[in-house]
Amino acid sequence: MKKVLMGNFAASHGVRLSRAQVISAYPITPQTHVVEELSAMVARGELNAKFIKVESEHSALACCIAASVMGARAFTATSSHGLLLMHELLHWASGGRLPIVMVAVNRAIAPGWNIWNEQTDTLSQRDTGWIQLYCASNQEILDTVIQAFRLAETVKIPVMVIYDAFILSHTYEPVDIPDQKTVDAFLPPLKNPEVLKVGEARAFGSVTSPDFHMEFRMKLHDTYERVPEEFEKIEQAYAATVGRTYGAIEPYRCEDAELVMVVAGSLAGPTKMVVDGLRQKGIKAGRIKLKMFRPFPTKPLQEALKNAKKILVLDRNLSPGTGGIFAHELRSALKGDARPVWGFVAGIGGRDITPELIESMFFDAIGADAPVSTTIFKGVRL
């Protein structure tokens, strides 16, 4: 059934169709409609889940961890400062190998107070051990939430489903909502044998001495090696049942492109339009949409970029002193590569990124052999 849905409600439907059993959230700003709608779904009897309202995001994730340890399919949603408050528990969830799924809506971080779009909140959780998947449309949000549960439960690593505040979260777009039977065929009930059971002595989160701790971390790292392959299998299974696929990356007109721009999130749509416009002017432009950030899809990116002469990255985030985080990661993935990489930073704190601004980045790269600096801010008023 196709409906015109805002991104937050697309996420809520994804969670409903995934039959999440425990949902815990803190309902105050920077929270979004995701959990508001889920609590209504639970109240209306459309979703058989326990909704636990708590007093902070830290507690919300703690609730999900407890539920997941007991074998329940657990979900939470948050944003910016809420996500930062969860930071400690993010490590607990991944270290505990708990298949929790979270929606994180990208919002800027204070000061000054700013609820608008920026991706620094999720990117600064890079090293917490969570898989990160960025979405470019409301349809992709719904589909990715459902896929995320299966991925998390397959590799026993929690998954963050991420999308841009307002640009997707509060924007209405047509979304196809699959029926429950179709989703059930793709996502079986969670059977997690590694749970605490009454009457069976086990421990979670107890002391691990130097004799053991390192192996836990190494195993988590090793499992990450399998994630791209498992994600691909899950995408194929989703395509077979529900009928849509996205890929860890989505290259567009890259085969013969001399300039390729790499973006994540809702910039995928506008950059596609800009590439089409540049092609009409005879400029060989392409773009890559990055969906998976953790693990970083190094090999597919290298492959998609193999013919590019100049590489551009458009970051809606900032690591002060380093620059755009996606650009930093891409440079690391292309180490030893002599091709110039333009690292553009724009859209910080919800500043609008227009097609003209994106186009100007391509022209910057066309007009020079190398970038003037490692990080180039665009759309700045000085």
Binding site: V4, I167, H170, T171, P174, G269, I353
Partner: protein, 181 residues
């Protein structure tokens, strides 16, 4: 591509109107996108909401600076907000007002349409006399005045998207459609 901007006051239903109109276009097979002004909305403060309509999926995600169409839900905004900002000469503007298009000399050169949506809303018991909820009446008027979307699709959208008083909202939309030239 159509780019439509709604001007209203917080709590008047501009955001709901933009969504309903997007649904109506969607029902006619169009690609649509609807979004509010991104900010902290307060009751009574001027707000804007936007929709894009295209033959295929809408992939753009930037703000709308040069709308093709403007809809004004609250007549008092005409004095406070530059409702024609970015609207090209000859551009469509629909105003909820008791006045006549010729009563707006500053809008000379634009394609001005009027509807007394407040009166229609009050008549059908939508909102209060002081604070009528005019969005569904305005949508009926928009369908007729613009000719871009059919009454049937608008009524279907109103039926699906009205949180309460569905019959009254349907009646208001239809009456406005019939009253506008």
């Amino acid at each position: 591509m159509l780019e439509i901007r709604f001007h209203g006051r917080g709590g008047q239903g501009a955001v709901v109107a933009s969504k309903m109109l997007a649904v109506a276009f969607f029902k006619e097979g169009k690609g649509v996108q609807s979004f509010p002004t991104y900010g902290a909305e307060r009751r009574g403060a001027p707000v804007a909401a936007f929709i894009r309509v295209d033959d295929g999926p809408v992939l753009y995600h930037h703000n709308i600076y040069t709308p093709t169409h403007v809809v004004v839900l609250d007549p008092s905004l005409m004095k406070r907000v530059d409702v024609t900002q970015g609207l090209p000469k000859g551009g469509f503007i629909l105003i909820n007002t008791k006045l006549h298009p010729s009563d707006f000399p500053s809008l000379k050169g634009f394609d001005v349409h009027v509807v007394d949506a407040s009166e229609i809303a009050i008549k059908h018991g939508l909102g209060s006399k002081e604070n009528p909820i005019v969005n569904t009446a305005v949508l009926g008027a928009f369908a007729k005045a613009s000719g871009l979307v059919g009454l049937k699709a608008v009524l279907e959208a109103v039926k699906e998207e009205s949180p309460i008083k569905i019959k009254k909202n349907l009646a208001a939309a239809e009456e406005a459609y019939n009253k506008v030239e």
